[in-house]
């Protein structure tokens, strides 16, 4: 009932693990697959091993989580074995990759074997990477184009919401040949410890995820669905089946789930059964609700 084809990849349900969550080791991705995810997006992988920002790198705030991990990763040279282990679960594995320039992206995409690539041009707090690239349409188009040339699998581009007009970045990705866009990455944010005056994160500022950003993400997905011809994958603050339905109605063909895993590692199974129950009660299927809000 929930299965679909997304950019040519068969998914048993539209619920995928978001990048940066439980995605560094093959074992942890396998566990998420066993708890019902339809797809697995890895931790963002770069050219060289990177230890990331100093701690605190994540803290719970009133209505979500604030993080500045700083793209810690073992580099693509040490990562194929983790993807291969994750693939033993039988669930598609999408490699999230990042770089400082188009060449970095193509070097990684040319060496790694995965079911798709998700280009991270949207991390809000890594100097010289991520959103520093993803806010410039010309760079996004160029990077997408270069990766498309070396990759023989679908290429998704993950967008930052920290721009004036997300549609222009989405259009740039589409022009570069992207098979889908993923929206959104975290929203730039900060928290200060009032007992001392110190910014809490080791990196001083970071990105907000979780419940608080869901309405922001819904609007971005809605706008991108209107503007683009390629599929939109929704991510940002999904913690139950109602959230997932809402994203699909806004125009997401599939969704990714991240922060909600902390308190509930079985969130994928719960969301898929909740969605199935809702859809059968309404006598709808995924196709019926896909982009529904646009038709009303």
């Amino acid at each position: 009932m929930l299965s679909l084809k997304l950019t040519g990849i068969h998914l048993k349900n539209p619920l995928m693990l978001a990048a940066g969550i439980m995605g560094t080791t093959g074992g942890s991705m396998k566990r998420i697959a066993q708890s019902g995810a339809g797809g697995l997006v890895t931790k963002s992988i770069g050219v060289e091993p990177k230890s990331g920002h100093g701690n605190p790198s994540m803290v719970e705030v009133d209505c979500g989580y604030l993080n500045a991990m700083g793209l810690p990763n073992p580099s693509y040279k040490n990562f194929q074995q983790e993807i291969d282990t994750a693939k033993e679960s039988g669930v598609p594995v999408i490699a999230s990759i990042f770089g400082g320039c188009a060449l970095d992206f193509s070097q990684i995409a040319g060496a790694i074997h995965a079911d798709a690539f998700e280009l991270n041009v949207s991390c809000p707090h890594a100097h010289g990477y991520g959103a520093e690239i993803g806010t410039a349409p010309a760079l996004v188009e160029d990077i997408t184009h270069v990766v498309k040339n070396v990759a023989d699998v679908p290429v998704w581009v993950k967008l930052t919401p920290n721009v004036t007009n997300i549609k222009s970045i989405g259009l740039a990705a589409q022009k570069g040949g992207a098979d889908a866009v993923v929206a959104i990455n975290t929203v730039r944010a900060m928290a200060i410890d009032i007992d001392s005056g110190y910014p809490i994160l080791g990196n001083r500022f970071g990105g907000l995820s979780g419940r608080a950003i869901k309405p922001v993400a819904i609007k971005c997905v809605y706008d991108l669905y209107e503007a683009l011809d390629i599929p939109v994958i929704g991510v940002g603050g999904i913690s139950d089946w109602k959230d997932a339905i809402e994203f699909i109605m806004a125009g997401a063909q599939a969704v990714e789930i991240g922060s909600a895993i902390g308190n509930n590692i079985n969130v994928f199974n719960e969301i898929s059964s909740g969605m199935e129950k809702f859809l059968s009660e309404k006598e709808w299927d995924l196709e019926d609700i896909y982009g529904m809000a646009h038709r009303l």
Binding site: I21, M22, G27, K43, G52, N55, M69, N263
Partner: protein, 248 residues
Amino acid sequence: MKPVNAEITEVVSETPTIRTFFFDRSFGSEPGQFVMAWIRGVDEIPMALSYNNAITVQKVGSATSALFELDKGDSIGIRGPLGKGFDRKPGHILLIAGGVGAAPLAPLAENAASDGIKVTTLLGARTKEELVFKKRFERAGDVIIATDDGSEGIKGYVTQLIDNTEYFSQIYCCGPEIMMKKVLDKILPSKAQFSLHRYIKCGLGICGACCMDGLRVCMDGPVFSGEALKKSEFGIYRRNECGERVKV
């Protein structure tokens, strides 16, 4: 939760390299749980609670060195208690502690003894001076000691003291991973619990940095049953800050 402000009320020197920092607040923890201790402007590190209101720290790196600069009246930020502690079992329990690994086991010993559970402790350290919480374990039950240099107890490793484990209802172990792996190989895994140390970033079960196979040390642990560890990478490799595999 955001870090709460914890003021240091007392610093106790346990050994030449290990100190206990007492705070003005209690963290209502079960033995084996941990906190993320934020030394502002430096780093945030996972630390076992050695009392409801204290952490016991070995000076090993920049964050612990910065902590050692602090004294009564200074404060740090604390997130916690986090994770899953020891599962208490009745009967006669055996504790196996190596070095600063005694920190989470001492409150377990006290807790168990006050509830009438019989406690025997195997306590190991490099030297007599480096034995941690010897008196606390002695007040809770029998203590057998091993030191690397033989300055107290038998000369050798605490793992050499393991004998007749079928006699005990449950075994609780914390210490260097190589020591814990030796313990795991010597006993019935289903009857033992181990408190693990891994590089922890979020402490919230989200980022996956501390994952050991599919197990999240910060959330599913840090205490795991021997059975869960038996088939895992435990004792073989761990992950560094980058997520690369590093031999234990």
